[in-house]
């Protein structure tokens, strides 16, 4: 199955999104040997990342800002045979739609969410998001961002996500492995992908210095939390995974033809 589309890619040269697109394409190509990609449905939010739906020849819904996790849940509740993969931005997932993210993790919807976390609003030309560093000078924070950044991985561990990972757009082959594992995971698989924005928040240098691949997945959630919050280095890899029943397992009712006449009879 050909994954590229006719659409011309319009991300800035050097954008971290290219690494994420490549990692996803490679992951999908490898997964095609074990899953039918026609069953895959992508959902993307609003922001530079959202254009990814146009660059992949798979079913997709380019939805509204912040609501990717809710749409993934709706798709899975309607047809659990579909493989739901979401793409969101940091402004999308951690600002506008944070409530949906937390609840998707808590519910354990069977979907993967890949967050293109460049710690800035790119498409709206450079404002601070929930993951922007304290002191970040954006166009709406000319005196520096007064807020501490959110730690998305720690947040997801605390919210009950059953698969939590951090990836790096600068290491597409490592990210590909994480994405594959995430898609094969039954339950909510969350990947925060560190992604430089060459135009408004160029973090390539920082990440080259600080990103370090983890060898193994930590044994416990406490250990995972410690690594998620470590400041000396930025650990990338799968921090946590557990098996538990999904939201669709619990909530989805197999459709049947309702006998409305019988019900009305009982309302007499």
């Amino acid at each position: 199955m050909k994954l590229a589309t006719q659409v011309k890619i319009v991300w800035c040269p050097g954008c971290g999104n290219f690494g994420i697109l490549k990692a996803f394409k490679d992951a999908a190509a490898e997964l095609a040997e074990v899953v039918d990609l026609r069953r895959m449905v992508l959902v993307s939010g609003v922001g530079c990342h959202g254009k990814i739906a146009d660059y992949l020849a798979l079913s997709s819904f380019h939805t509204i800002h912040g609501r990717v996790p809710a749409m993934l849940a709706g798709i899975k509740l309607a047809n659990p045979e579909l493989i739901a993969v979401g793409f969101a931005g940091d402004g999308d997932a951690y600002n506008e739609g944070l409530v949906h993210l937390i609840h998707a993790a808590k519910k354990n919807i069977d979907a993967t969410l890949i967050v293109h976390d460049n710690a800035v609003y790119g498409l709206t030309t450079g404002q601070a998001t929930a993951t922007s560093a304290r002191g970040f000078r954006g166009r709406s924070t000319p005196e520096g961002n007064p807020e501490e950044p959110l730690n998305p991985v720690a947040l997801m561990l605390a919210s009950g996500a059953s698969f939590v990972a951090r990836g790096y757009a600068g290491d597409a082959s490592h990210l590909k492995e994480i994405i594959k594992e995430a898609i094969l995971h039954r339950g909510f698989a969350f990947i925060d992908v560190l992604q430089p924005c060459v135009t408004f928040n160029n973090t390539w240098k920082l990440y080259r210095e600080k990103v370090r691949k983890m060898k193994d997945t930590p044994e416990s959630i406490d250990e995972a939390m410690k690594l998620a919050r470590a400041e000396d280095e930025i650990r990338v890899g799968i921090l946590y995974r557990e098996e538990r029943s999904t939201y669709e397992d619990e909530m989805r009712i197999e459709p049947r033809d309702a006998d409305v006449n019988a019900l009305l009879e009982r309302m007499k």
């Binding site: 589309t5 006719q6 659409v7 039918d36 026609r38 069953r39 895959m40 449905v41 959902v43 254009k51 739906a53 146009d54 020849a57 798979l58 079913s59 997709s60 819904f61 380019h62 939805t63 509204i64 609501r67 809710a70 749409m71 993934l72 849940a73 709706g74 798709i75 509740l77 309607a78 047809n79 045979e81 579909l82 409530v99 949906h100 937390i102 609840h103 909530m251 989805r252 009712i253 197999e254 459709p255 049947r256 033809d257 309702a258 409305v260 006449n261 019900l263 009305l264 009879e265 009982r266 309302m267 007499k268």
Partner: protein, 545 residues
């Protein structure tokens, strides 16, 4: 024969439940009943009332005047005394100089039942007062609670026997026909949508829509429907769009405040051409307003909901049966035209139970336009004369949907020509919807005359009854509000016009002016209370002389 009674107490006294059981006593004997429930936004204390009307004829509204008040608290009596001839009260709790003294709480104690079971003894006494065999009441309890009905039955009989010894009968009620189904507007909406193939229901709790969430959740396995209460209203709307995109028929339930939160998603459904049925049950606004009281203030809001322009189908039912049929029709139309639809309900319609004769077979799942070509050639937004592009779903095809302007394949575009062509394709669907509505009943007409009263939603009930009392007046219930059925309005012969609705500005009246140059005298109220026929008679007389 047309009479009524009411039950009142505080929240927690089981007033609504008792009112529904009492109403069933009569509907099982073949009478038409209507149950109006008043309650406040609190869990314990305050004032609740169930006002029951019984008639040989179809009734679509309550009446304040009645035979009897069953008083479960003393402080509620002054609010109701003026409307009733007799009071039946819990003499174990307080004493009155008049009325039927029934030691309800004492009976509950004797039966070793929790205090709220005292209602069963009151309903037993009610049976005697209306000359109804207490077995009818016992049967209702048995059907509702099975073996757990024992205490209710014991108390019902204690109440009946006590009344037999101490009270005088008010009326003698016999069977007049077969048992009738008793359901409220919310339940009818759920059942109508189910007949049209509803598969998922998404709702965040909000009065007066919540009871449908409860009704469907309790029966989801029997009905084969997924029922979800998500994290908020935005999630409810977006989940619904996701489910419909994946091929499932969906409905979202809310009230005005919740629908306000769904605006961006509503617009997305319009742009991405995803069929979603929204149930918006109005309550008193603005803002939190009168959260448990009635209003019809959201008509203009719903007609203009969502940013940008896109086709929408909006309809408002006038009674329980009408709700069933319209819910089914709207879900079918949403799928045929791949656009959002709104079933615009109101608190009085949603939460009042009434006897209804529903022809279930009249609503069926009507198939949408489906794609039958090669998967590789599929174009989700194929330009067509009707504006309708054939539907297909993954995994059969690669399906690309988006809230951005797009080309036929569903890829984002900002090309001027493609944008205009796609915009026109979507808007062309309105023409098809208009032709479709011409085949359906876009308005309901009651009575004859050139003095015409327009109304919508649950105001229809009281308006029709008041007009019948006066005679020579035609009532027009506007069922479909978008597209507005100008063709139906223009064919009316009108001497004088009035418009009855529960809002301040006269929102339907303004539509009549906008679409058909009709100047209608406004009869409005905005105090959270629905109209009754008795109140409307003098108001209509004032307009028509």
């Amino acid at each position: 024969m047309d009479f009524g009674f009411r039950i009142s107490g505080m929240a927690g006294d089981g007033v609504k439940g008792a009112g529904l059981v009492a109403a069933k006593l009569f509907s099982r004997l073949g009478y038409h009943v209507f149950v109006h429930v008043e309650y406040q936004s609190l869990i314990r204390g305050g004032h609740n009332a169930a006002i029951v009307r019984v008639s040989r004829k179809k009734v679509r509204c309550h009446e304040e005047k009645g035979d009897l008040l069953i008083a479960l608290q003393d402080y509620v009596i002054p609010m109701h005394r003026v409307y009733v001839k007799h009071v039946l009260y819990d003499s174990s709790k307080f004493s009155l100089e008049e009325g039927y003294a029934l030691p309800m709480s004492e009976f509950a104690k004797q039966a070793k039942a929790p205090p709220v079971f005292r209602n069963a003894s009151a309903l037993g006494a009610l049976c005697y007062l209306y000359g109804i065999d207490v077995e009818v009441l016992n049967g209702i309890y048995r059907d509702a609670y099975g073996e757990k009905a024992e205490k209710d039955i014991v108390l019902a009989e204690m109440g009946y026997r006590y009344a037999e010894e101490h009270f005088e009968q008010i009326r003698k009620i016999g069977r007049v026909g077969e048992a009738r189904a008793l359901l409220d507007g919310n339940q009818a909406a759920g059942l109508g949508a189910l007949r049209a193939g509803l598969r998922c229901y998404y709702a965040y709790p909000m009065t007066p829509s919540s009871s449908l969430l409860h009704f469907l959740a309790a029966r989801k396995r029997e009905l084969g429907i997924t029922v979800v209460q998500p994290e908020n209203e935005i999630a409810a709307a977006v989940m619904a769009i996701g489910s419909a995109f994946a091929g499932a028929r969906v409905m979202v339930g809310t009230s005005g405040g919740g629908f306000a939160l769904m605006q961006e998603a509503f617009s997305l459904a319009g742009m991405a051409e995803v069929p979603v049925l929204f149930l918006e049950s109005q309550r008193g606004g603005p803002s939190t307003g009168l959260p448990t009281w009635h209003a019809q203030q959201d008509l203009r809001f719903v007609l203009h909901a969502g940013h940008g322009e896109f086709p929408r189908i909006v309809a408002s039912p006038g009674d329980v049966e009408d709700t069933f049929y319209l819910a089914g029709d709207l879900l079918n139309l949403a799928w045929r035209y791949q656009t959002p639809a709104v079933l615009l309900m109101d608190r009085y319609l949603s939460e009042s139970a009434a006897t209804a004769e529903i022809d279930v077979e009249k609503v069926k799942e009507e198939p949408p336009l489906l794609y039958r070509g090669e998967a590789a050639d599929y174009r989700r937004y194929l330009i067509t004369d009707s504006g309708i592009s054939p539907l297909a779903f993954p995994p059969e095809v690669v399906l690309k949907a988006t809230g951005n302007e797009h080309d036929e394949l569903g890829f984002t575009t900002d090309d001027a020509e493609v944008s205009a062509t796609m915009y026109e394709k979507r808007m062309r669907k309105i023409g098809g919807i208009v032709e479709e509505l011409k085949q359906r009943q876009a308005v309901r007409i009651f009575g004859e005359g050139e003095d015409v009263v327009f109304t919508w939603g649950s105001s229809t009930g009281a308006t029709v009854e008041a007009a019948q009392k006066l005679g020579g007046i035609k009532v027009v219930q506007v069922r479909y509000l978008s597209p507005f059925p100008t063709w139906e309005i223009e064919r009316l012969s009108i001497e004088r016009a009035a418009c009855v609705e529960c809002n301040y500005t006269g929102q339907l009246a303004s539509l009549l002016k906008e679409h058909a140059c009709i100047e209608a005298e406004l009869i409005t109220r905005y105090d959270g209370r629905p109209f009754t026929a008795s109140e409307l008679v003098p108001k209509l007389r004032e307009v028509f002389g």
